[in-house]
Subunit: 721 residues, 2 copies
């Protein structure tokens, strides 16, 4: 892997390489700083890490269960890090938002006002379901997982892998206070057992006001330059025996095996940076055919069908104020998803990802031995089978996801069927532990349902189903909804005129019957569900068989890709899967389009500029006054002569990296990851070094806030500052 | 005046001064490059001009009736310049758009396809009302204009100035082919008689397709970085005697006394640039009280009342598709004006203009001799009188401007009254030459009127009138509309239920009667107009008396300001008034907000990036192909290695500067002004060197288009290229 620098940036290192980049020599394979590395891979790329500026020993990063990586934890839905020996956990304000909200009341509004615990007795217990997970074991279990699967295929392969994984997890979790899981690396090539301490007693220690922690909110989300203090401090507690325990006043602060030290200075453009965290999911190593489908069909089709559904809801809302209110949230969500799909499409096109991935795969295939080609062809065939039904799968998926009453009927019927099985054998989502969620969904219907809108949404989706070729149509749907638009209309009218499911009491009575596997009372929508659920289950079985084949066949592709990358001198990192990864790179400006340059560091001047007094740009008075006063002391950037707020790197991140600690060359904490840039929304598929950036809170801003604006000197002392 | 350079730009000259600027030494009075200079002032600032980089003799710019300034002409509503000895006029595509539209048909769509005249016989006649004006005389006539006015005040002063001006213009225009006007410099201090050749036979020679000439349209308007080829070439023709003449096939190309030469190279960041043109109106030298009123009342009140009217129309459109259509244009216009007012307000606040202008005036007043203070106090009083009625004037103005039927009734009644007078004594807008326009307005009503919406608009405005203190209310309006919201409602219902003015035939019949001064038939809205028009005329008289006082008193203020500026070493330029002005400065980047930098030059890469295939981002295929081919030859920028499109300077411009030629240090044509930036929308009041920029077509882009994309080698030859 080469660390090429775009011609326009101003790196502070390696001028010789920059000169080459200026000449375009490295442009063709410029995968600079791409990579979400497993810690165990870092010794392999030690030379590059050192060349990039890392001052420590790459070997010390190899084990995620020793320092410094054991200080990096899973926190809520994101990442966090221990920053003191007494269990202080630093994460994003938005990751810990549930904790803040849980402790906030109209009288004591912690969301708006922020919170500082004066001492440990003042720390506030988090919501009981908030978790911090500390990885304590990471062991390869590939042979155990695949042992029974080898030699089988399809559904049998799927079930064997699934059963082996469940068995390993179950054994592992016999130890109290430990949560285990299986991580699939390189698409079924390797499996790891992950053991994590499950810390269950978290307490709120320090949170800035919302107008700092979420300054800019949705408007600024993805929009560098940002000016947000998106951080919060929690503290983890354990029982007196040092073991994880539920909240109790008798608990004591957890003593982590190691913690990170906040740097006493800050970074500048070009400086080395490194990040560790739990990125969720990426598709970087998908096949060329999958890339092509994503750009040529999946994303455009998503935009198209979302546009149609948005049109339906907006049209309905035009003359119906009540429908407008009921569907406001669904409309917003459709618009966000539509925007994201369009952004991803735009990004993949801008990066010419399909052509580049295609050319890369063609080159790879030239090196594949003749006897290895069978599996690759078989993989192509399974993917093609799935593609052949893509329109159907999209439409039927949306018919459930975008409706309320139809979804409720299907859920009730499925619950009735699953309830007849022993709990362990039930489909996920219908086990005993899932029922509260099902009940909640059934209750929410009232706040999100209008029969005219639901019929209009279904009409749009089912007319598209009607227009599919016969091979993609589902017989049970045809039987239930008819074969012409007129028949569809009659069917919809009859269903919604006759159903009693719009009544919450009726739904809850049905839920009570279904959870016991009892027969459900007569209702047109339930009769429909009785027709459709068997079809859904049949399609589900087909999907699982296909997933089994993909699990069996993808490793062959990954092996060839790894060999090809090795030939190119580029080690292969596995696609993100929620396990701990490390990325390295540097502070780097962004040139998103012709004549526009974004500096990699923002300052408090931007807060004053953005401030309007109206949320989300309503910086609190103490902050504005402190900025005007200009008393930044030791946290000011010496070159800029002012206080920095956020900074930008070319680190490789995706969802789940929220709250990831960003370290400097000496391994000290300089930032907290919290956002990405709009131009990089397609990075889950393709890393384009021109546009991929990650956005971090500058630790100097956190220190300044805690020193001068909302002071907490005791916490700074605890962090050694 | 000091030419300080903001610390962040990269000038190519005067590093010593830049270093000072970095230290903030010049920041306090950094009016770098502010100024719309009368050519006659340029010798006064010769030292600064040379220091800024001008290589020519500033004295040669002093006379706008000799070369090179006599090549700069008024073209349509903007500016243009002669670029060949045979009368080729270069101006903006948007300035010449009417000419293109006039010659465009569905079969031969010059707007979409552009146009190249193969030879002179192929040139297409412009619409007959398109004019190019060449200034041939600029003479101070202050004594003639003010002679009769001196010693009078108020309305008498106004009438004396008005009458003297009309007499001078009338005498001047005895010469055939010449149009004359009076220019008021320094707010009534000096008056100039301007003589202009009125070229009436213009022909279309070269226009790029709309998707080049107006690439980005409203979306990119004001939004640097821009990528627009906003230029068009016309040719001026005259009679065989060389005198201006109406269009005739016998006419011959006009031979201008001089023309500009397009440069063979292009500019870089920091390079000197100079611009000449006809800026429309600025308010830079208004009093501190007027600045305060603009920011504290005028602009917020404008935003507030526009928001109310926008709300009325949007609410009405929610349930009424027809109203939505009828008011679409009015709504768009309200939104544009609202956006502009909000932008101006934001800009003036960002620049802290009220405080700065206030401090400047306080400092100035310390130097005013005791015996000169009376006039300044009197001026303050007149301004205060006008302010005392500002709410009333805003509301009544909008009641006319934002309605259709009420406006029609008031126009018909006023026309009936004016028609009884000799034409010369009629109020402007009701003279014989205005009647076609009045008739057109009366016809348009049908396409823009819905009674419910008009009543709702009037309800909003008149309720605000009702809420005014008694001193601001107009008795005739109170009598007509009542004194309570309930009475207002009854009055509106009666007026709109009973009127026949919604019928076009009725309106046109009334127009026929009114233009002959005949009595108008009975109608509730006309009865209302008979009540209100006398009130309007009374308010008009009051306004003219006040305007006379302002005309009499402002010169005292301007004299003090000039003396104060002289003490500061800064010559004073007059506010823009549609006369020829010169501005100088340099190519300069823009840093609109924290961490964002816009380069001062854009390239064709930006066209490809913005291209979506949908207007206004639908770059034509020949352009996209030529960009992809990369054959830029001699027009490429040597440093950037690609084709430039637009560039950015800190030149001082305002509306009317569209089409202004931009010259380099050697006086060669390097650009064509066509836009400004959003951050500078407040520059009509306050020049902030941090944000004020002007946007130009790079002449290299025009040359490249004419060489390689839509070739016109004969025209390039004619321009000496």
């Amino acid at each position: 892997m080469t660390n090429a620098t775009p011609a326009t940036s101003r790196p502070r290192r390696r001028p010789a390489l920059v000169a080459l980049a200026c000449l375009g020599v490295l442009a063709a394979h410029a995968h600079a700083d791409e990579g979400m590395w497993m810690p165990s891979q870092l010794p392999q790329i030690a030379a590059q890490l050192r060349e990039a500026g890392y001052a420590g020993d790459p070997a010390s990063l190899a084990d995620l269960t020793t320092a410094p990586l054991d200080a990096v934890v899973r926190a809520g839905g994101g990442t966090g890090a221990f920053v003191s020996g007494d269990g202080l956990v630093l994460t994003n304000h938005h990751v810990a938002f549930g904790v803040i909200q849980y402790n906030s009341t109209p009288e004591r509004n912690l969301i708006d006002n922020g919170f500082i615990a004066g001492d440990r007795s003042g720390e506030l217990a988090a919501n009981p379901d908030f978790r911090v997970l500390v990885t304590v074991g990471f062991d390869r279990v590939t042979d155990q997982v695949l042992g029974a699967a080898r030699g089988t295929s399809g559904r049998a392969y799927f079930d064997a892998v699934d059963a082996a994984g469940k068995r390993i997890v179950s054994e592992c979790e016999r130890e109290a206070g430990v949560r285990c899981s299986i991580a699939n690396m390189y698409s079924g090539t390797d499996f790891y057992r992950i053991r994590q301490l499950e810390l269950r007693d978290l307490r709120l220690v320090y949170a800035p006001p919302r107008a700092i922690g979420n300054f800019g909110d949705e408007i600024d989300n993805f929009m560098w330059p940002r000016h947000t203090g998106d951080f919060t401090l929690l503290r983890a507690y354990v029982g007196k025996d040092g073991k994880p325990a539920a909240h109790s006043p008798d608990n004591v602060p957890y003593q982590p095996p190691s913690h990170l030290q906040v740097a006493s200075d800050g970074p500048r453009e070009g400086d080395f940076a490194m990040l560790a965290g739990y990125p969720g999911i990426t598709y970087r190593h998908r096949t060329a055919a999958e890339f092509a489908e994503q750009v040529e069909w999946t994303l455009p089709a998503r935009v198209d069908v979302f546009d149609a559904l948005i049109g339906v809801i907006e049209q309905a809302g035009r003359d119906n104020a009540q429908a407008r209110t009921l569907y406001a949230s669904q409309l917003q969500s459709l618009k966000n998803n539509r925007k994201r799909a369009a952004g991803e499409l735009e990004g993949l096109r801008r990066s010419d990802a399909v052509r580049q991935r295609g050319a890369d795969e063609v080159a790879m295939l030239q090196h594949v031995a003749r006897d290895k080609r069978g599996d690759l062809q078989a993989l192509d065939q399974v993917l093609a089978q799935a593609s052949a039904m893509r329109e159907r799968d999209q439409l039927l998926g949306l018919a459930t996801a975008q409706t309320q009453l139809l979804r409720a009927a299907l859920q009730l019927e499925r619950l009735r069927i699953e309830a007849a099985k022993p709990d362990a054998q039930r489909e996920s989502g219908y086990q005993a532990r899932d029922l509260a969620l099902v009940e909640g969904t059934l209750k929410q219907v009232q706040r999100r349902y209008d029969p005219q809108v639901e019929k209009a949404l279904l009409r749009t989706l089912l007319r598209r189903h009607l227009a599919l070729p016969a091979a993609q149509r589902v017989a049970e749907f045809d039987a239930a909804f008819g074969r012409t638009p007129a028949e569809l209309e009659t069917a919809l009218d009859a269903l919604y005129a006759g159903t009693a499911l719009g009544d919450e009491a009726v739904r809850l009575a049905l839920f009570a019957a279904a959870r016991e596997g009892r027969p459900l009372q007569a209702d047109p929508l339930l009769a429909l569900a009785a027709q459709l659920v068997p079809a859904q289950m049949r399609l589900e079985d087909e999907r699982k068989a296909r997933d089994g084949e993909l699990l069996r066949l993808r490793p062959a592709y990954m092996a060839e890709l790894a060999a090809w990358r090795a030939r190119q001198g580029r080690p292969l990192y596995p696609d993100a899967n929620g396990t701990l990864r490390v990325s390295y790179g540097r502070l780097e400006r962004l040139q998103p389009r012709d004549a526009v340059t974004y500096a990699p560091v923002t300052t408090v001047a931007g807060i004053t500029q953005k401030h309007t007094g109206q949320a989300p740009f309503d910086a609190p008075s103490p902050l504005l006054e402190a900025i005007a006063k200009g008393d930044f002391g030791g946290t000011a950037d010496p070159a800029l002569g002012t206080q920095t707020v956020n900074f930008l790197t070319n680190l490789d991140t995706t969802g789940g990296n929220s709250g990831s600690p960003v370290l400097n060359a000496r391994g000290e904490l300089i930032g907290l990851n919290f956002d990405s840039n709009w131009e990089a929304v397609s990075a889950s598929w393709w890393f384009d070094p021109r546009y991929k950036r990650a956005v971090h809170v500058d630790m100097r801003y956190m220190r300044w806030l805690m020193e001068k604006v909302y002071p907490a000197p005791h916490l700074l002392r605890e962090m050694g500052l």
